[in-house]
Protein backbone atom coordinates (compact mmCIF):
# COMPACT_ATOMS: atom_id res chain seq x y z
CA UNK A 1 0.00 0.00 0.00
CA UNK A 2 1.40 3.35 -0.90
CA UNK A 3 1.95 5.93 1.78
CA UNK A 4 0.00 9.16 1.92
CA UNK A 5 1.63 11.88 3.96
CA UNK A 6 -0.13 14.95 5.33
CA UNK A 7 2.18 17.80 6.39
CA UNK A 8 0.82 20.59 8.57
CA UNK A 9 2.26 23.88 7.31
CA UNK A 10 3.95 26.25 9.75
CA UNK A 11 3.45 29.90 8.80
CA UNK A 12 2.75 33.35 10.19
CA UNK A 13 -0.29 34.10 8.06
CA UNK A 14 1.66 35.43 5.09
CA UNK A 15 4.90 33.49 4.86
CA UNK A 16 5.51 29.75 4.87
CA UNK A 17 8.17 28.76 7.42
CA UNK A 18 11.22 26.98 5.98
CA UNK A 19 10.55 24.16 8.44
CA UNK A 20 7.69 22.99 6.21
CA UNK A 21 10.02 22.56 3.21
CA UNK A 22 12.23 20.38 5.42
CA UNK A 23 9.24 18.23 6.36
CA UNK A 24 8.65 17.70 2.63
CA UNK A 25 12.21 16.41 2.19
CA UNK A 26 11.74 14.13 5.19
CA UNK A 27 8.46 12.80 3.74
CA UNK A 28 10.21 12.06 0.45
CA UNK A 29 12.22 9.52 2.42
CA UNK A 30 9.08 7.39 2.43
CA UNK A 31 9.29 5.54 -0.88
CA UNK A 32 6.47 6.43 -3.25
CA UNK A 33 4.83 8.76 -0.76
CA UNK A 34 2.09 11.05 -2.00
CA UNK A 35 2.58 14.33 -0.14
CA UNK A 36 -0.19 16.77 0.77
CA UNK A 37 0.34 20.01 2.69
CA UNK A 38 -2.51 21.46 4.74
CA UNK A 39 -2.56 25.20 5.40
CA UNK A 40 -4.76 26.28 8.32
CA UNK A 41 -5.26 30.04 8.19
CA UNK A 42 -7.76 32.86 8.18
CA UNK A 43 -6.91 33.41 4.52
CA UNK A 44 -4.71 30.67 3.14
CA UNK A 45 -4.01 31.77 -0.43
CA UNK A 46 -0.60 33.43 0.02
CA UNK A 47 0.86 30.62 2.13
CA UNK A 48 -0.75 27.91 -0.02
CA UNK A 49 0.88 29.41 -3.12
CA UNK A 50 4.30 29.08 -1.48
CA UNK A 51 3.57 25.51 -0.34
CA UNK A 52 2.44 24.54 -3.85
CA UNK A 53 5.86 25.47 -5.22
CA UNK A 54 7.69 22.90 -3.12
CA UNK A 55 9.04 20.09 -5.21
CA UNK A 56 7.55 16.72 -4.30
CA UNK A 57 4.21 18.07 -3.11
CA UNK A 58 1.21 16.65 -4.96
CA UNK A 59 -1.55 18.78 -3.44
CA UNK A 60 -2.15 21.70 -1.07
CA UNK A 61 -5.30 21.85 1.04
CA UNK A 62 -6.54 25.15 2.47
CA UNK A 63 -8.55 25.17 5.66
CA UNK A 64 -9.81 28.68 6.26
CA UNK A 65 -11.45 29.78 9.46
CA UNK A 66 -11.51 33.12 11.33
CA UNK A 67 -10.29 31.17 14.40
CA UNK A 68 -7.05 30.17 12.65
CA UNK A 69 -5.27 33.51 13.07
CA UNK A 70 -2.90 32.06 15.62
CA UNK A 71 -1.59 28.51 15.73
CA UNK A 72 -3.50 27.34 18.80
CA UNK A 73 -3.06 23.58 19.02
CA UNK A 74 -6.50 23.03 20.54
CA UNK A 75 -8.10 24.92 17.64
CA UNK A 76 -6.01 23.56 14.75
CA UNK A 77 -5.85 19.92 15.84
CA UNK A 78 -9.54 19.05 15.28
CA UNK A 79 -9.40 20.62 11.80
CA UNK A 80 -6.39 18.53 10.84
CA UNK A 81 -8.10 15.46 12.29
CA UNK A 82 -11.12 16.13 10.08
CA UNK A 83 -8.86 15.70 7.04
CA UNK A 84 -6.67 12.92 8.42
CA UNK A 85 -8.80 9.96 7.24
CA UNK A 86 -6.96 8.88 4.10
CA UNK A 87 -3.43 9.56 5.35
CA UNK A 88 -0.90 7.04 6.69
CA UNK A 89 1.52 9.62 8.10
CA UNK A 90 0.87 13.07 9.56
CA UNK A 91 3.98 15.20 9.91
CA UNK A 92 4.86 18.60 11.29
CA UNK A 93 8.16 20.28 12.11
CA UNK A 94 9.89 19.75 15.44
CA UNK A 95 9.65 23.46 16.22
CA UNK A 96 7.69 24.81 19.18
CA UNK A 97 4.74 25.10 16.77
CA UNK A 98 4.90 21.49 15.63
CA UNK A 99 5.81 19.95 18.97
CA UNK A 100 2.80 21.66 20.56
CA UNK A 101 0.34 20.75 17.80
CA UNK A 102 1.35 17.30 16.56
CA UNK A 103 1.19 15.57 19.93
CA UNK A 104 -2.33 16.93 20.40
CA UNK A 105 -3.22 15.45 17.01
CA UNK A 106 -1.64 12.13 18.02
CA UNK A 107 -3.67 12.19 21.23
CA UNK A 108 -6.93 12.78 19.39
CA UNK A 109 -6.13 9.96 16.97
CA UNK A 110 -4.83 7.60 19.66
CA UNK A 111 -1.91 7.14 17.27
CA UNK A 112 1.77 6.78 18.13
CA UNK A 113 4.00 9.81 17.59
CA UNK A 114 7.62 9.60 16.55
CA UNK A 115 9.22 12.79 17.87
CA UNK A 116 12.23 14.44 16.21
CA UNK A 117 12.53 12.17 13.17
CA UNK A 118 16.12 12.44 11.91
CA UNK A 119 15.95 9.69 9.30
CA UNK A 120 13.35 7.47 7.68
CA UNK A 121 14.46 3.90 6.98
CA UNK A 122 11.09 2.66 5.68
CA UNK A 123 7.42 3.71 5.91
CA UNK A 124 7.35 2.13 9.38
CA UNK A 125 10.93 2.57 10.56
CA UNK A 126 12.30 5.86 11.88
CA UNK A 127 15.44 7.07 13.63
CA UNK A 128 15.39 9.72 16.34
CA UNK A 129 17.76 11.14 18.95
CA UNK A 130 17.12 10.45 22.64
CA UNK A 131 18.97 11.42 25.84
CA UNK A 132 19.76 14.87 24.40
CA UNK A 133 21.30 13.28 21.32
CA UNK A 134 23.56 10.94 23.30
CA UNK A 135 21.87 7.95 21.72
CA UNK A 136 20.03 7.28 18.47
CA UNK A 137 16.94 5.10 18.68
CA UNK A 138 15.36 3.23 15.77
CA UNK A 139 11.62 2.66 16.28
CA UNK A 140 9.14 0.70 14.22
CA UNK A 141 5.41 1.16 13.96
CA UNK A 142 3.11 -1.77 13.28
CA UNK A 143 2.08 -0.53 9.83
CA UNK A 144 -1.63 -0.67 10.53
CA UNK A 145 -2.97 2.66 11.65
CA UNK A 146 -1.55 6.12 11.36
CA UNK A 147 1.79 7.44 12.52
CA UNK A 148 2.22 11.05 13.65
CA UNK A 149 5.69 12.53 13.52
CA UNK A 150 7.65 15.68 14.21
CA UNK A 151 10.57 16.29 11.89
CA UNK A 152 13.95 17.33 13.25
CA UNK A 153 14.50 20.19 10.81
CA UNK A 154 18.29 20.26 11.27
CA UNK A 155 18.46 16.77 9.72
CA UNK A 156 16.90 17.69 6.37
CA UNK A 157 17.54 20.19 3.59
CA UNK A 158 14.61 22.31 2.49
CA UNK A 159 12.78 20.93 -0.56
CA UNK A 160 13.46 22.96 -3.70
CA UNK A 161 10.88 25.32 -5.18
CA UNK A 162 9.69 25.70 -8.75
CA UNK A 163 6.85 23.20 -8.74
CA UNK A 164 3.15 23.95 -9.03
CA UNK A 165 0.93 21.57 -7.13
CA UNK A 166 -2.84 22.06 -7.32
CA UNK A 167 -4.39 24.07 -4.49
CA UNK A 168 -7.78 23.03 -3.16
CA UNK A 169 -10.09 24.36 -0.51
CA UNK A 170 -11.09 21.80 2.09
CA UNK A 171 -14.50 22.25 3.68
CA UNK A 172 -14.06 21.42 7.34
CA UNK A 173 -16.97 21.86 9.68
CA UNK A 174 -16.05 20.89 13.19
CA UNK A 175 -16.86 22.63 16.45
CA UNK A 176 -13.81 24.58 17.59
CA UNK A 177 -13.06 25.22 21.25
CA UNK A 178 -12.97 28.74 22.68
CA UNK A 179 -11.24 27.71 25.91
CA UNK A 180 -7.82 28.79 24.61
CA UNK A 181 -7.27 32.40 23.61
CA UNK A 182 -4.25 34.12 22.12
CA UNK A 183 -3.25 37.27 24.03
CA UNK A 184 0.04 38.46 22.60
CA UNK A 185 3.46 37.58 21.32
CA UNK A 186 6.52 39.62 22.07
CA UNK A 187 9.58 39.19 19.99
CA UNK A 188 12.53 41.48 19.62
CA UNK A 189 12.46 42.72 16.05
CA UNK A 190 15.67 41.98 14.30
CA UNK A 191 16.99 42.68 10.82
CA UNK A 192 19.48 39.84 11.17
CA UNK A 193 18.91 36.49 9.46
CA UNK A 194 16.60 34.00 11.15
CA UNK A 195 18.52 31.80 13.57
CA UNK A 196 16.95 28.58 12.32
CA UNK A 197 17.71 29.10 8.66
CA UNK A 198 20.85 31.27 8.71
CA UNK A 199 23.93 29.90 6.92
CA UNK A 200 26.19 31.51 9.51
CA UNK A 201 25.51 31.73 13.24
CA UNK A 202 27.56 33.35 15.99
CA UNK A 203 26.56 32.42 19.53
CA UNK A 204 27.65 33.84 22.84
CA UNK A 205 27.85 32.30 26.30
CA UNK A 206 28.05 33.52 29.85
CA UNK A 207 31.61 34.71 29.25
CA UNK A 208 30.16 37.70 27.37
CA UNK A 209 29.35 38.96 30.85
CA UNK A 210 26.31 41.13 30.08
CA UNK A 211 23.76 42.14 27.47
CA UNK A 212 26.19 44.96 26.72
CA UNK A 213 28.93 42.38 26.11
CA UNK A 214 26.82 40.75 23.40
CA UNK A 215 27.14 43.90 21.31
CA UNK A 216 30.51 42.81 19.96
CA UNK A 217 28.80 39.70 18.59
CA UNK A 218 25.98 41.68 16.97
CA UNK A 219 28.53 43.91 15.35
CA UNK A 220 30.56 41.01 13.93
CA UNK A 221 27.38 39.16 12.92
CA UNK A 222 26.18 42.16 10.91
CA UNK A 223 29.48 42.28 9.07
CA UNK A 224 29.28 38.54 8.28
CA UNK A 225 25.55 38.45 7.56
CA UNK A 226 25.17 36.01 10.42
CA UNK A 227 22.41 35.30 12.91
CA UNK A 228 23.17 35.58 16.63
CA UNK A 229 22.43 32.84 19.15
CA UNK A 230 23.10 32.31 22.82
CA UNK A 231 23.77 29.51 25.26
CA UNK A 232 21.23 28.64 27.91
CA UNK A 233 23.53 30.12 30.55
CA UNK A 234 23.59 33.46 28.73
CA UNK A 235 19.80 33.48 28.36
CA UNK A 236 19.29 32.48 32.01
CA UNK A 237 21.61 35.32 33.02
CA UNK A 238 19.49 37.77 31.02
CA UNK A 239 22.18 38.64 28.48
CA UNK A 240 19.98 37.54 25.55
CA UNK A 241 16.25 36.82 25.01
CA UNK A 242 14.93 33.24 25.07
CA UNK A 243 14.31 33.09 21.31
CA UNK A 244 18.07 33.27 20.81
CA UNK A 245 18.75 30.11 22.82
CA UNK A 246 20.52 27.34 20.94
CA UNK A 247 20.51 23.82 22.33
CA UNK A 248 18.39 20.90 23.41
CA UNK A 249 15.73 23.11 24.99
CA UNK A 250 16.19 25.99 22.58
CA UNK A 251 16.71 25.88 18.85
CA UNK A 252 18.38 23.00 17.07
CA UNK A 253 20.21 24.39 14.09
CA UNK A 254 22.39 23.26 11.20
CA UNK A 255 24.23 26.27 9.74
CA UNK A 256 27.25 25.99 7.44
CA UNK A 257 29.31 27.91 9.98
CA UNK A 258 28.74 28.02 13.73
CA UNK A 259 30.97 30.18 15.90
CA UNK A 260 30.70 29.50 19.65
CA UNK A 261 32.09 32.42 21.61
CA UNK A 262 32.69 32.04 25.33
CA UNK A 263 30.51 28.91 25.43
CA UNK A 264 31.89 26.02 27.48
CA UNK A 265 29.89 23.41 25.58
CA UNK A 266 27.40 21.74 27.92
CA UNK A 267 25.85 18.60 26.40
CA UNK A 268 22.51 20.31 26.01
CA UNK A 269 24.15 23.06 23.93
CA UNK A 270 26.10 20.61 21.77
CA UNK A 271 22.84 18.80 20.98
CA UNK A 272 21.61 21.94 19.29
CA UNK A 273 24.64 22.39 17.00
CA UNK A 274 25.91 18.93 16.11
CA UNK A 275 24.59 19.20 12.57
CA UNK A 276 26.51 22.41 11.88
CA UNK A 277 28.90 21.86 8.95
CA UNK A 278 31.82 23.67 10.61
CA UNK A 279 32.05 24.56 14.29
CA UNK A 280 34.48 27.23 15.49
CA UNK A 281 35.11 27.59 19.23
CA UNK A 282 36.62 30.66 20.86
CA UNK A 283 37.17 30.27 24.58
CA UNK A 284 39.77 31.24 27.14
CA UNK A 285 39.62 27.80 28.81
CA UNK A 286 41.58 25.38 26.64
CA UNK A 287 39.94 22.45 28.46
CA UNK A 288 36.36 23.54 27.66
CA UNK A 289 34.30 20.65 26.23
CA UNK A 290 33.32 22.79 23.23
CA UNK A 291 36.81 22.13 21.83
CA UNK A 292 36.01 18.40 21.61
CA UNK A 293 33.44 19.06 18.90
CA UNK A 294 35.03 22.12 17.31
CA UNK A 295 36.55 21.84 13.84
CA UNK A 296 38.61 24.94 14.55
CA UNK A 297 39.53 26.00 18.08
CA UNK A 298 41.03 29.27 19.26
CA UNK A 299 42.05 29.72 22.89
CA UNK A 300 42.12 33.31 24.07
CA UNK A 301 40.29 36.39 25.29
CA UNK A 302 37.12 36.84 23.27
CA UNK A 303 37.03 40.57 23.99
CA UNK A 304 40.26 40.91 22.01
CA UNK A 305 39.64 38.22 19.42
CA UNK A 306 36.13 39.20 18.27
CA UNK A 307 36.95 42.86 17.50
CA UNK A 308 40.12 41.71 15.76
CA UNK A 309 38.20 39.28 13.56
CA UNK A 310 35.79 42.07 12.70
CA UNK A 311 38.69 44.32 11.75
CA UNK A 312 40.35 41.65 9.58
CA UNK A 313 37.30 40.31 7.76
Amino acid sequence: MSSRVLIVAEHDGTKLNASTAKCVTCAQGIAGAQITIVVCAVEAAAVAAQAAQLSGVSRVLCVENPANGHALAAVWAPQVIALAGPFSHILGPSTTFGKDLMARIAGLLGAPQVSDIMAIDSPTRFRRPIYAGNAILTVESSGDGKVVGTVRTASFEAAAGGAAAPIETAAVSVALPTHTRFVSVSAARSDRPDLQTARRVISGGRALGSAEGFKILYSLADKLGAAVGASRAAVDAGYAPNEMQVGQTGKIIAPELYVAVGISGAIQHLTGIKDARTIVAINKDSEAPIFEVADIGLVGDLFQIIPEIERLV
Binding site: R125, A135, H179, A294, D295
Partner: protein, 249 residues
Amino acid sequence: MKRILVGIKRVVDYNVRIRVKPDGSGVVTDGVKMSINPFDEIALEEALRIKERGGAEEVIVATVGPADCQQQLRTALAMGADRALHVQADGVVEPLVAARALLQLIEREQPLLVILGKQAIDDDNGQTGQVLAALWNRPQATYASKIELTAGTARVTREVDAGLETLDVDLPAVITTDLRLNEPRYVKLPDIMKAKKKPLDTLTLSALGVEQRQQLRLVRFEPPPQRQKGIRVKDAAELLEALKKKGLL
Protein backbone atom coordinates in the same frame (compact mmCIF):
# COMPACT_ATOMS: atom_id res chain seq x y z
CA MET B 1 -11.04 21.16 47.05
CA LYS B 2 -8.79 23.10 44.67
CA ARG B 3 -6.18 20.61 43.62
CA ILE B 4 -3.17 20.60 41.35
CA LEU B 5 -2.02 17.32 39.86
CA VAL B 6 1.65 17.10 38.93
CA GLY B 7 2.97 14.29 36.76
CA ILE B 8 6.57 13.24 37.28
CA LYS B 9 8.88 10.69 35.69
CA ARG B 10 11.87 8.84 37.08
CA VAL B 11 14.80 9.31 34.68
CA VAL B 12 18.57 8.86 34.55
CA ASP B 13 20.01 11.89 36.35
CA TYR B 14 20.96 14.69 33.99
CA ASN B 15 24.60 14.62 35.15
CA VAL B 16 25.11 10.98 34.17
CA ARG B 17 27.10 10.33 31.02
CA ILE B 18 24.84 8.17 28.86
CA ARG B 19 26.32 4.94 27.49
CA VAL B 20 24.58 2.73 24.96
CA LYS B 21 24.72 -0.99 25.74
CA PRO B 22 27.03 -2.87 23.33
CA ASP B 23 24.15 -5.10 22.16
CA GLY B 24 22.05 -2.06 21.22
CA SER B 25 19.17 -3.06 23.48
CA GLY B 26 19.13 0.14 25.52
CA VAL B 27 21.29 2.48 27.55
CA VAL B 28 23.15 1.47 30.70
CA THR B 29 20.98 2.13 33.75
CA ASP B 30 22.44 -0.38 36.26
CA GLY B 31 24.03 1.41 39.18
CA VAL B 32 23.23 4.77 37.59
CA LYS B 33 21.83 7.67 39.62
CA MET B 34 18.11 8.24 38.99
CA SER B 35 16.20 11.45 39.64
CA ILE B 36 12.94 13.26 39.04
CA ASN B 37 12.93 14.52 35.45
CA PRO B 38 14.19 18.13 35.81
CA PHE B 39 11.23 19.64 33.92
CA ASP B 40 8.84 17.75 36.22
CA GLU B 41 10.68 19.11 39.25
CA ILE B 42 9.95 22.59 37.88
CA ALA B 43 6.30 21.55 37.44
CA LEU B 44 6.11 20.47 41.07
CA GLU B 45 7.85 23.63 42.29
CA GLU B 46 5.32 25.75 40.42
CA ALA B 47 2.40 23.81 41.91
CA LEU B 48 3.84 24.28 45.41
CA ARG B 49 4.27 28.02 44.83
CA ILE B 50 0.67 28.33 43.59
CA LYS B 51 -0.49 26.53 46.73
CA GLU B 52 1.70 28.73 48.95
CA ARG B 53 0.13 31.81 47.36
CA GLY B 54 -3.32 30.43 48.18
CA GLY B 55 -4.20 29.42 44.63
CA ALA B 56 -4.67 25.77 45.52
CA GLU B 57 -5.26 23.69 48.62
CA GLU B 58 -3.63 20.41 47.70
CA VAL B 59 -0.78 19.25 45.48
CA ILE B 60 -0.91 15.65 44.31
CA VAL B 61 2.09 14.11 42.59
CA ALA B 62 1.66 11.10 40.32
CA THR B 63 3.81 8.82 38.22
CA VAL B 64 3.39 5.79 35.98
CA GLY B 65 6.23 3.31 36.18
CA PRO B 66 7.96 0.49 38.04
CA ALA B 67 8.19 0.07 41.83
CA ASP B 68 11.47 2.04 41.98
CA CYS B 69 9.55 5.21 41.06
CA GLN B 70 8.41 5.45 44.66
CA GLN B 71 11.83 6.92 45.51
CA GLN B 72 11.08 9.89 43.27
CA LEU B 73 7.56 10.18 44.66
CA ARG B 74 9.05 10.33 48.18
CA THR B 75 11.41 13.08 47.02
CA ALA B 76 8.41 14.95 45.62
CA LEU B 77 6.61 14.56 48.94
CA ALA B 78 9.71 15.88 50.69
CA MET B 79 9.67 18.91 48.38
CA GLY B 80 6.16 19.61 49.64
CA ALA B 81 3.56 17.60 47.70
CA ASP B 82 0.68 16.56 49.96
CA ARG B 83 0.21 13.04 48.65
CA ALA B 84 1.42 10.73 45.94
CA LEU B 85 -0.17 8.30 43.48
CA HIS B 86 1.91 5.55 41.95
CA VAL B 87 0.49 3.77 38.93
CA GLN B 88 2.51 0.58 38.81
CA ALA B 89 3.73 -0.37 35.31
CA ASP B 90 6.81 -2.29 34.20
CA GLY B 91 8.32 -2.05 30.74
CA VAL B 92 7.82 0.66 28.16
CA VAL B 93 5.13 3.22 29.01
CA GLU B 94 4.38 5.24 25.88
CA PRO B 95 3.05 8.80 26.20
CA LEU B 96 -0.45 7.67 25.20
CA VAL B 97 -0.53 5.10 28.00
CA ALA B 98 0.84 7.57 30.55
CA ALA B 99 -1.75 10.13 29.44
CA ARG B 100 -4.61 7.62 29.65
CA ALA B 101 -3.53 6.71 33.18
CA LEU B 102 -3.28 10.38 34.17
CA LEU B 103 -6.74 10.99 32.69
CA GLN B 104 -8.14 8.33 35.03
CA LEU B 105 -6.45 10.05 37.97
CA ILE B 106 -7.92 13.37 36.82
CA GLU B 107 -11.40 11.85 36.83
CA ARG B 108 -10.90 10.69 40.41
CA GLU B 109 -9.25 13.82 41.75
CA GLN B 110 -10.89 16.59 39.68
CA PRO B 111 -7.87 18.95 39.70
CA LEU B 112 -8.21 22.54 38.54
CA LEU B 113 -4.79 22.35 36.97
CA VAL B 114 -2.41 19.64 35.76
CA ILE B 115 1.25 20.56 35.42
CA LEU B 116 3.87 18.40 33.74
CA GLY B 117 7.39 18.88 32.43
CA LYS B 118 7.53 19.72 28.72
CA GLN B 119 9.56 16.60 28.05
CA ALA B 120 11.44 13.84 29.84
CA ILE B 121 15.19 13.96 29.40
CA ASP B 122 15.42 10.22 28.69
CA ASP B 123 13.19 9.55 25.68
CA ASP B 124 12.81 13.27 24.81
CA ASN B 125 9.32 12.56 23.44
CA GLY B 126 7.70 15.77 24.67
CA GLN B 127 4.18 14.44 24.14
CA THR B 128 2.43 13.46 27.36
CA GLY B 129 1.03 16.89 28.29
CA GLN B 130 -0.45 17.56 24.86
CA VAL B 131 -1.81 14.02 24.52
CA LEU B 132 -3.41 14.32 27.95
CA ALA B 133 -4.99 17.67 27.08
CA ALA B 134 -6.38 16.12 23.87
CA LEU B 135 -7.86 13.10 25.66
CA TRP B 136 -9.29 15.34 28.38
CA ASN B 137 -10.62 17.78 25.76
CA ARG B 138 -9.17 20.68 27.75
CA PRO B 139 -6.73 23.53 26.93
CA GLN B 140 -2.99 23.03 26.80
CA ALA B 141 -0.33 25.65 27.41
CA THR B 142 3.07 24.17 26.67
CA TYR B 143 6.59 25.51 27.41
CA ALA B 144 5.43 27.82 30.19
CA SER B 145 7.84 30.39 31.60
CA LYS B 146 5.20 32.23 33.64
CA ILE B 147 1.81 31.21 35.06
CA GLU B 148 -0.73 33.60 36.58
CA LEU B 149 -3.98 32.16 37.93
CA THR B 150 -7.16 34.18 38.19
CA ALA B 151 -10.66 32.89 38.82
CA GLY B 152 -11.30 30.22 36.25
CA THR B 153 -8.44 31.21 33.97
CA ALA B 154 -4.68 30.82 33.70
CA ARG B 155 -2.59 33.38 31.83
CA VAL B 156 0.46 31.52 30.60
CA THR B 157 3.58 32.95 29.00
CA ARG B 158 5.13 30.40 26.66
CA GLU B 159 8.67 30.18 25.30
CA VAL B 160 8.17 29.75 21.56
CA ASP B 161 10.56 30.04 18.62
CA ALA B 162 9.39 33.59 17.87
CA GLY B 163 9.85 34.83 21.43
CA LEU B 164 7.33 34.89 24.26
CA GLU B 165 3.69 34.10 23.57
CA THR B 166 0.91 34.71 26.07
CA LEU B 167 -2.27 32.64 26.14
CA ASP B 168 -5.37 32.67 28.32
CA VAL B 169 -6.71 29.20 29.03
CA ASP B 170 -9.90 28.30 30.86
CA LEU B 171 -9.44 25.97 33.80
CA PRO B 172 -9.11 23.10 34.18
CA ALA B 173 -6.14 22.92 31.83
CA VAL B 174 -2.82 21.19 31.23
CA ILE B 175 0.35 23.26 31.47
CA THR B 176 3.84 22.00 30.60
CA THR B 177 6.90 23.70 31.98
CA ASP B 178 10.03 25.15 30.45
CA LEU B 179 13.31 25.72 32.25
CA ARG B 180 12.93 29.37 33.16
CA LEU B 181 9.60 29.02 34.97
CA ASN B 182 11.30 28.70 38.35
CA GLU B 183 14.19 27.20 40.25
CA PRO B 184 13.09 24.19 42.28
CA ARG B 185 13.77 24.26 46.02
CA TYR B 186 16.22 21.99 47.74
CA VAL B 187 14.86 19.25 49.95
CA LYS B 188 15.73 19.60 53.63
CA LEU B 189 16.43 16.63 55.88
CA PRO B 190 13.45 17.17 58.25
CA ASP B 191 11.20 17.25 55.18
CA ILE B 192 12.54 13.87 54.08
CA MET B 193 11.54 12.48 57.48
CA LYS B 194 8.11 14.08 57.25
CA ALA B 195 7.62 12.76 53.72
CA LYS B 196 7.81 9.19 54.99
CA LYS B 197 4.49 9.71 56.76
CA LYS B 198 2.68 11.30 53.82
CA PRO B 199 0.21 9.12 51.91
CA LEU B 200 1.49 7.25 48.86
CA ASP B 201 -1.14 5.11 47.16
CA THR B 202 -0.28 2.44 44.65
CA LEU B 203 -2.61 1.59 41.78
CA THR B 204 -2.24 -0.49 38.65
CA LEU B 205 -2.93 0.30 35.01
CA SER B 206 -5.47 -2.51 34.85
CA ALA B 207 -7.31 -1.21 37.91
CA LEU B 208 -7.57 2.10 36.05
CA GLY B 209 -8.81 0.28 32.96
CA VAL B 210 -5.79 1.29 30.88
CA GLU B 211 -4.18 -1.21 28.53
CA GLN B 212 -0.37 -1.01 28.38
CA ARG B 213 -0.17 -1.01 24.60
CA GLN B 214 3.16 -0.44 22.93
CA GLN B 215 2.66 1.01 19.45
CA LEU B 216 6.31 1.69 18.63
CA ARG B 217 8.78 -1.16 18.87
CA LEU B 218 12.24 -0.14 20.06
CA VAL B 219 14.40 -1.73 17.39
CA ARG B 220 17.91 -0.58 18.20
CA PHE B 221 19.87 1.94 20.30
CA GLU B 222 23.13 3.30 18.88
CA PRO B 223 25.70 5.84 20.00
CA PRO B 224 25.61 9.03 17.94
CA PRO B 225 28.22 9.54 15.22
CA GLN B 226 31.30 11.34 16.51
CA ARG B 227 32.71 14.46 14.90
CA GLN B 228 36.26 14.30 13.67
CA LYS B 229 38.91 15.93 15.82
CA GLY B 230 39.47 19.53 14.78
CA ILE B 231 42.48 21.81 14.56
CA ARG B 232 43.71 24.60 16.82
CA VAL B 233 44.66 28.03 15.52
CA LYS B 234 46.67 30.61 17.44
CA ASP B 235 44.98 33.90 16.59
CA ALA B 236 42.23 35.69 14.68
CA ALA B 237 44.28 35.90 11.48
CA GLU B 238 44.92 32.14 11.43
CA LEU B 239 41.27 31.50 12.14
CA LEU B 240 40.17 33.57 9.16
CA GLU B 241 42.79 31.84 7.01
CA ALA B 242 41.39 28.43 8.01
CA LEU B 243 37.83 29.54 7.27
CA LYS B 244 38.85 30.86 3.85
CA LYS B 245 40.52 27.54 3.08
CA LYS B 246 37.23 25.80 3.82
CA GLY B 247 35.43 28.24 1.54
CA LEU B 248 33.41 29.65 4.43
CA LEU B 249 34.39 33.29 4.01
